[in-house]
């Protein structure tokens, strides 16, 4: 048949697709097809697993961190005490230090509420330090800290934080002398505690026995630069299409391409509300994807693209 059928126009939106059960049929062994698929996919899986294995880069411990980047540990502890670390100034769900991100006028992050309260200075630094017994210098430093007013504490910690940042290689030992109160001592003791390997336990099982919640040690680790430095070295950073990538020489999550794409371009790349904006945009795009059958124009696109002619070409 060589005459072309007329193109259906969108204004005739009634779906006149015939019932598939009305068409001539031929034998098709679904169960055999399924068994063959199981065999082929099974073999492929075993082969790929045997040849390529899977990545397993060991988790960073807080002791690793203390050993590899001691200056970063001290700087992080100082920032927690100053209230300037990422977690301390995050806002919901951890605290009320900030309103958080908005989607347009809607304060989405704030609406979520403080569901996982974390007091960065106390929970992440001071409480673990208070468990250390028999260290007179630490006890004295904590006493000085407790006796000081909030303003004084913040000033000490902020000034020390600035001094560390200005020091060569960010080395606390080379920080300019100044009035930092007990903060340098607390920072040094915190580093020592992290180095013992017991800090993660103090952050997770303090007051309990079992734990499966890594919120506090992860927030602490993420407040530092070491975790991110290690991640960026493997192109896992947000502005490195990191969401798609994997440690080592392995495929990652290529299906995340569109989600991570927006972080690479403006206005998202430099926006303080980037996460909320990208979420909102992807939610809209996802809904469009799900409801394609109901979207005029989009639902007709496949017919005009013509790939179907390859699939349903005349039998040879």
């Amino acid at each position: 048949m060589s005459t072309r059928t007329p193109i259906r126009h969108e204004k005739n939106s009634r779906d006149t697709t015939p019932d598939s059960h009305l068409f001539p049929t031929r034998s098709y062994d679904l169960v055999k097809e399924f068994v063959i698929a199981l065999a082929v996919v099974g073999l492929l899986t075993l082969l790929l697993a045997a040849v390529f294995s899977s990545p397993d880069r060991k988790a960073l411990t807080l002791a690793n961190w203390a050993q590899a980047a001691p200056a970063d540990v001290v700087a992080t502890a100082t920032a927690e005490l100053a209230g300037t670390s990422t977690s301390a100034s995050y806002g919901p769900p951890y605290n009320s230090a900030a309103e958080g991100q908005k989607l347009g006028p809607v304060p989405m992050q704030k609406l979520g509420g403080i569901r996982t309260p974390v007091d960065s200075a106390n929970d992440l630094v001071l409480t673990p330090l208070r468990t250390v017994a028999g260290d007179a210098a630490l006890t004295a430093a904590l006493k000085d800290w407790d006796a000081a007013a909030d303003d004084q504490r913040t000033k000490w910690a902020s000034d020390y934080s600035d001094a560390i940042a200005a020091a060569p290689d960010g080395d606390p030992a080379q920080a300019a002398k100044g009035e930092y109160g007990p903060v340098p001592a607390l920072g040094a003791k915190f580093l020592a505690l992290a180095g013992t390997g017991s800090l993660v336990g103090l952050l997770t099982t303090s007051g309990t026995f079992y734990t499966s919640n890594g919120t506090k040690p992860l927030l602490l680790l993420a407040d530092g630069a070491y975790l991110e430095d290690q991640a960026r070295a493997e192109h896992l950073g947000g502005d490195q299409w990191g969401m798609m990538n994997e440690t080592g020489n392995y495929p990652g999550q290529p299906w995340m391409w569109l989600y991570t794409f927006w972080y690479q371009v403006e206005p998202f790349a430099s926006s303080d509300n980037a996460d909320a904006l990208v979420w909102g945009l992807m939610a809209v795009l996802t809904l469009i994807f799900i409801f394609i059958p109901y979207i005029p124009g989009l639902r007709s696109l496949p017919k005009y693209l013509g790939v179907h002619r390859l699939i349903w070409r005349r039998s040879s």
Partner: protein
């Protein structure tokens, strides 16, 4: 594959790891082959249902 870092390719803002690129290329090839390579079919269709002209538009 090893734990050494992957190779990354970059064109402007676009960046992709070599393993991911291989996965994508394999998928495109699979799709292209799937829609072009003839599918074997059984010969159990009975002959004769002529007069197709009246069914055609």
């Amino acid at each position: 594959m090893t734990d050494s870092p992957a190779t990354f390719l970059q064109w402007g803002v676009l960046q992709i790891s070599l393993p991911n690129l291989i996965v994508l290329i394999v998928m495109v090839i699979l799709f292209a082959l799937a829609v072009t390579v003839p599918f074997p079919h059984s010969a159990d269709a009975a002959p004769g249902h002529g007069g197709s002209d009246d069914l055609a538009r």
